[in-house]
Symmetry: C2
């Protein structure tokens, strides 16, 4: 068994090789540039972990893990175009550096190359792997579309927001684990529990991300607190405040989100606290984590094999207790 | 054996069913909208023809043909974004109707669904099919990128232009035929000849397209003659004129292409004629057609099985003799 850090190092070495032809450089260099600006490679590494949970690592898993990471980067390149984002990981986005048409096309070709990697695995598994990969790919696109739809809405209901986050963020984590499990010969019941572990962990992670953006310690969090509030982003916190707040609080929030005054962040945070959004978010994160670990417990393998996944979960979602 | 028209009608019926989930409609309706505005479905139908050349039609071919048509439409949706084209087949393009972010995402999800169809075929063939499909998909992206690169260049050399057209247009026709042949159990030599038939036919078709845009009879051609000249597009004719013209003619062309005077089309056509571009293009088209038929002749099946493909070639490239 290997820890996340060990597998991360190993995958990083493998993934750092070139994935595209040399020519035409005007198409493929932008794709390589984006892969080169980093990323934590969480999804491919948990694919390897999902595989090793059941057996020694099946070599085909590296190909699937690579496909997952290429897919993830393809979505980032295209999301950045849609969001008109100038920076990603502190570096220029592809469309900012090479223009939108080239960014669009580099993303397209990255998705095709992801399928090249899927096509390398043994025939016995390929149908199942592509089926789950494609289901997930469609869901991620659906999540991104819903996210864009929600930007145009004043009020988004919590169940709709949860569904969007599930599609946009959680299912790819869940599927990365399950794709590994499939290649590990796991039974369907075990696969399902591992998928649900990943999905709930993804939800907990997103709740935490929203929470830290609003209430995190700026020094520990590493970035300016309140970024989501300044950008009028829909978050777990904003959605809940609009639901739980009094008529006056909701109107005040609407007013604050319609302008950009210097004291906007503090005033919004004040209302968030009045509505009990902070403790609600902590409870919600805990709820998802409990669910995640319940599913992990249900997986019928030796408990010791689950240690790396448990450690990873604690690392991703810094549980305070 | 079936004619192009018969297979076209059959495929059209099959393809007209919905290919995407209902929800979210904001993502999938734009994709369905684009498929609904028509198209000749040439590529999927020649895939079926490439299959029937060798045997009765293998049912898996319909899935591959559908994947090919979805891939083709995905490239059109994204190309229209890159070219900022407001219309396609006389209808609003997807980005014009639904906005660029949704058009981008609808194209993405269409490519994923293309792979869903590929994943339906029997395991015995799937690796070969995805390998050729992906090789072609990458080449089409490369062709589109080169086309965009060339727009920024004053002078493009003929060999570079030929390569771009081959990648952007011809290889998808060639591969559509070969994908059908693979599913028909064709031997590799026969597959190769069929591929080359399609590639050369594609080149001949593009030369004809460029020729008709400049020298075609407006009534028969069905659209305004000289559209490429007005848009300063690189075409076979423009490339050859820049190579074959005298110093004075080349300078005059550069001047004409740098402005939009009312007599631009007539003046450019006059120089094209002086440079012998019209007869050169007729010869070039003939050269490609001869090559195409040479490869068709080499395929080791009963000559009578080749009749539908011969008829299609004559229909696509109206040979005058």
């Amino acid at each position: 068994m290997h820890s996340f850090e060990e597998l991360s190092k190993e995958f990083g070495n493998i993934f750092s090789s070139r994935h595209f032809p040399d020519q035409p450089g005007s198409l493929y260099d932008p794709a390589e540039y984006f892969l080169g600006i980093g990323g934590k490679r969480i999804r491919p590494v948990i694919c390897l972990m999902g595989n090793e949970l059941f057996d020694v690592i099946n070599p085909d898993t590296y190909a699937v893990a690579t496909a997952i990471e290429l897919f993830h980067n393809f979505t980032l390149i295209h999301d950045d175009i849609m969001d008109k984002a100038p920076l990603r990981r502190g570096m220029q986005t592809v469309h900012e550096k090479y223009g939108e048409p080239t960014a669009l096309l580099s993303g397209d070709v990255m998705l095709v190359v992801a399928y090249d990697y899927l096509n390398r695995i043994k025939p016995g598994y390929i149908n199942k792997i592509i089926r789950l990969f494609n289901k997930t790919a469609k869901e991620v696109c659906e999540g991104q579309q819903l996210d864009m739809d929600f930007e145009k809405q004043d009020i988004v209901q919590l169940p709709d927001y949860l569904k969007m986050i599930e599609l946009k963020t959680s299912v790819l984590l869940a599927s990365s684990l399950q794709l590994g499990a499939i290649l590990g010969g796991a039974q369907e019941g075990n696969q399902k529990h591992l998928y649900e572990f990943g999905k709930n962990l993804g939800m907990a992670f997103q709740v935490q991300d929203d929470y830290l953006d609003a209430f995190g310690d700026p020094e520990k969090f590493g970035k300016q607190v309140g970024g989501d509030i300044v950008a009028n982003k829909k978050t777990f916190l904003q959605i809940h405040a609009m639901e739980a707040g009094s008529h006056t609080q909701v109107n005040e929030l609407k007013k604050l989100f319609s302008e950009n005054t210097p004291d906007k962040v503090n005033k919004v945070l004040e209302i968030f606290r009045q509505c009990g959004v902070d403790s609600w978010a902590a409870d919600l994160k805990e709820k998802y984590l409990t669910q995640a670990f319940k599913h992990l417990d249900e997986i019928a393998v030796l408990s010791s094999r689950k240690t790396p996944l448990k450690q990873l979960a604690h690392f991703l979602v810094q549980r305070e207790h």
